[in-house]
Symmetry: C2
Amino acid sequence: MAVVAGVDVGGTNITAARVEGGVITARDKRPTPHEGPEAVRDAVAELVRGLGEVDAVGVGVPGPVGRDGVVHGTANLGGFEEPSPIGSLISDALDGVPVGVGNDANLGALGEVRHGGGEGSRFLLAVWLGTGVGGGLVLDGEPYVGAFGGAGEVGHMVAVPQGAECGCGRRGCLEAYAGRAGMERAARLAAANGEQTRLIKAGKEDQPIKSGRWAKAIAKGDPLANRLLEDAVRALGHTLGSLINLLDVDTIVFGGGLTEKLGQPLIDRIAEATHPVVMLPRKHRRMVEATLGDDAGVLGAAEYALAFRR
Amino acid sequence: MAVVAGVDVGGTNITAARVEGGVITARDKRPTPHEGPEAVRDAVAELVRGLGEVDAVGVGVPGPVGRDGVVHGTANLGGFEEPSPIGSLISDALDGVPVGVGNDANLGALGEVRHGGGEGSRFLLAVWLGTGVGGGLVLDGEPYVGAFGGAGEVGHMVAVPQGAECGCGRRGCLEAYAGRAGMERAARLAAANGEQTRLIKAGKEDQPIKSGRWAKAIAKGDPLANRLLEDAVRALGHTLGSLINLLDVDTIVFGGGLTEKLGQPLIDRIAEATHPVVMLPRKHRRMVEATLGDDAGVLGAAEYALAFRR
């Protein structure tokens, strides 16, 4: 059986796992260096060496990646402003072990379709509802990266023309409504205008509003929290409904912190919000929860590695 | 060299062409019957027989089609409310000649990518600006139909949440703003409210507003025509920008009556309207005019037929 390494390069940590037949048999992690591609190469190579001999390595990074393993600039890693051939850098550092590099959201989608909530799907969208809104596509069974490696940016589809400002500097992106950072901006603005809410605690105004706090406020009927969640659901409904009309996927898998806290009831609300938009309703189209949690990244990267074995 | 037939089943006419090496060597057409699948089968079979011996047949139909050649209901052909295996019906009528059936907008996109304005592209969207707004996708060089054959409905992506009513019964679809029927509805409403416009001629109020009339009114600076075109361009900008973020296509080809009359200047305006939305601007991404005109359908269907040869 092939032994591969799956590596998930996040903004905070790099996680690496040895994977055999879709099962993690060893893992390690370390903080992500932000001094540029060579520093990331060294950290990844050391982690992989620590896992023992592997046939191939898959690496997920938070940015657009071409099929040649070149990262086309990402603001999530320091020193990656210019295109960087991180795949060949890592392969060289590992004495030529084959390395496949992909976008982390896309590889997470691949993990979920092969071993998680999307099993059995051939046309899948994964939506990660976290600080931002990430997206990954698996079309006809294979990760879809597009012409220049930038595909899957469902979070930056326009949900509301000329709408709320997004962290990316554009306006009206889905992420501005359904990403935790955007929801928090809206909550703080409302609170500054005098609206009462459980989302912001007296004496702890500066603390970030985590998914657990959102879930608790929503459960207790907090009007502001519920209104902002409703905005998020509406934005998701329009955008994912449009996406279904365009791509006719059979499955949408939802992951990320907000999904983990709010679960299938949130997904059912989102599904209902797509109905007025979708042209071709299909009883076989599923909207389900991701099941791999934080392991989606390394398992997806490991799956991707399989295609690069010699 | 393979000799194939390309058939374009429209709401008004069925056109069939004999195609050899991407060149049309014979053609014929007749009115589309609306008595159901058997009537369409008979008409297509007779047209194809009239073209002489062929190795395979490709057929484009105005509706969602699975890769098995089953049409999943279309309002554009009479008697097609239920799923209909039109591919095997036609093949049986032609003594077993292989038949491939696809959505007409998708096959038009395939025609443009192999022999038209999209030549050289591997990731292409074709947008047909006609009475409605049709869309066809070619991803990684192959027609993309999705899980259930319904992909490509760019005209029914949401351009404006809760916006103008669309011919499909939904609200805010791109087609409601950028399709000629939707633009005409808006023009008639404005005229009924007393707005002056060259779009509607005294004594000829009931005549449909064709693309030529739109082009003339716009050229003469008609305020209403220009405002509605601006609305169309803005809706196209948001929607196609979102689509680029999702699919990272390298080429968008524009066809249809409105494009033919307004040409590259219209396309350049649409391209500019996508810029505020697009995350990954690429100098290699092209937005160009379709070049095959009405032949895109039969040439694309003929290309599709090639994959079904025995």
